[in-house]
């Protein structure tokens, strides 16, 4: 009996793996492989789309449109991120509770501001975009706010977690040197998380560019809007031009981010 339960304790993870694999294999039988998996002309269309990948439209007017809409997409992303960083900086510091003096006020601050951040990021940027387009109309503010709110929520949450994970010893040393809470923040906590938060912000900036492109499907202009127009016209070559511009922007941001990180690591 004892031996049996010991064996169970040892192997229960493997049993679970086995069970889940079984469920997956069983689920494959539910798929109708012969018909309905891909609709009749689907393969042909997919062929056209991916064929167009090697022949993007590089005519001058398409390139100009692509450049302009990349600029719009980038501008929305940059403005949204700037606002998100400001929101996340303050909300994140409050949500981490490092400024609270007593255990009670820390608990209260953490609870309150973490819920605010949770609310901000629980709603997807596309949904925010719909809401703002409905209220502001198709103005750039709609795009910027729609990005800033959920991204502020995500960044703020990560920022708060990073602040909470700062090693205690240097902070204690600052406290014993007579530093106040806010002095501990600027001399201890912030220098400690600076490099990590920067690299995370850069990663989120990439995500913001992609989101900003997607959001423009709502009608806000930018790369996503152009992709949608070209898709409606079945101009796959143009679609790929815009996609390559999107990839280019993301790659450029990635290069910038790794350069920044290298400089900070010195």
């Amino acid at each position: 009996m004892n031996k049996l339960s010991l064996a169970y304790e040892l192997h229960k993870r493997k049993l679970l793996t086995l069970l889940l694999t079984g469920v997956f294999i069983w689920s494959l039988f539910a798929v109708q492989w012969s018909t309905g998996l891909i609709h009749g002309s689907g393969l042909a269309t997919a062929g056209q789309i991916f064929g167009a990948m090697f022949q993007p439209d590089v005519s001058a007017d398409i390139l100009i449109i692509a450049l302009e809409s990349s600029w719009i997409t980038l501008a929305y992303a940059a403005a949204g991120m700037s606002l998100a960083i400001i929101l996340a900086f303050f909300l994140g510091i409050w949500a981490s509770g490092v400024l609270a003096s007593g255990a009670k006020s820390r608990y209260f601050m953490k609870g309150t501001f973490r819920s605010v951040l949770g609310f901000m990021r629980a709603i997807h940027e596309l949904v925010w975009a719909w809401l703002f387009v409905a209220s502001f109309g198709l103005s750039p503010y709609a795009a910027v706010f729609a990005l800033a709110i959920p991204y502020g929520g995500i960044l703020g949450r990560i920022f708060a977690d990073m602040l909470n994970d700062v090693p205690k010893e240097p902070i204690q040393a600052l406290e014993s040197a007579g530093a106040s809470r806010i002095q501990c923040l600027i001399y201890g906590y912030l220098p400690n998380v600076r490099a990590n938060i920067l690299s995370y912000v850069m990663y989120r900036f990439e995500c913001a560019v992609r989101s900003s492109a997607i959001m423009s499907f709502v009608g806000l202009g930018g790369l996503g809007y152009q992709i949608q127009l070209s898709l409606d016209d079945l101009q796959y070559n143009e679609v790929w031009t815009f996609l390559f511009f999107l990839i280019g922007v993301v790659v450029l941001i990635d290069l910038w981010s790794s350069q920044l990180r290298r400089r900070l690591a010195l």
């Binding site: 240097p170 040393a173 600052l174 014993s176 007579g178 530093a179 106040s180 220098p191 400690n192």
Partner: protein, 251 residues
Amino acid sequence: MSNPEILDINQISKHFERKVALSSLSFSVKKGERVALIGPSGAGKTTLLNILASVIEPDEGQVFLDGEPMQEYADRKKFAKKIGIIRQQFDLVGQLPVIHNVLAGKLADWGFAKSILSLLIPQEKEAAIRSLERVGLPDKVYERTANLSGGEQQRVALARLLVQSPQIVLADEPVASLDPARAEDVLFMLTKLAAEENQTLIASLHSIDYARKYFDRLIALKDGVLFFDLEADKVTDEQLKELYQLKELVR
């Protein structure tokens, strides 16, 4: 001796869960004394230092600092003028340049505006550079602290203490993570600077040799009680042997 008592520890006890860390411990320290706390691991040295640093409070008993009960020093900035602490080398903010870690010793005197301005343009730079010269690191002022070796980082912590300039210095295993040569170097500097600044020094140490060599008075703790309290040159090898003996071997 005419030296006044700066620290008076009166019957303090501390429990953690059911474990006794300190039980009715009493002693007093005179101004300018150099005291080493020794004893096996778990004897209560760190608990005692944490009580003196007012990181934790004793369950019973009281500590008098310069004639006043410890509770009178609830203001952290006022306390920092009395007592400064140096621990192992993880004490510094590695991402900041050395000068800001040294100037952190000034935070008790500085307001918010001045401390934030100092991160851009170091304030009272001369004080920091002077203390870095005294600990032998005049060429590392703007170096990133994390890039320094363990021994150098402990010297930076010493420079910060010089800038903070408290009356009492508590050192919790200040050389625990250093090799013997670096350890001697840091201990020599710690005791020398304390003497020059006319500070009282209380350090917990693992090494008896260092304790005898650099300190005037040894206080030995074992299982939370005072085992002996003697001048450094009066401690015998038998006493030390008994202090570090394992319980199982006695039986």
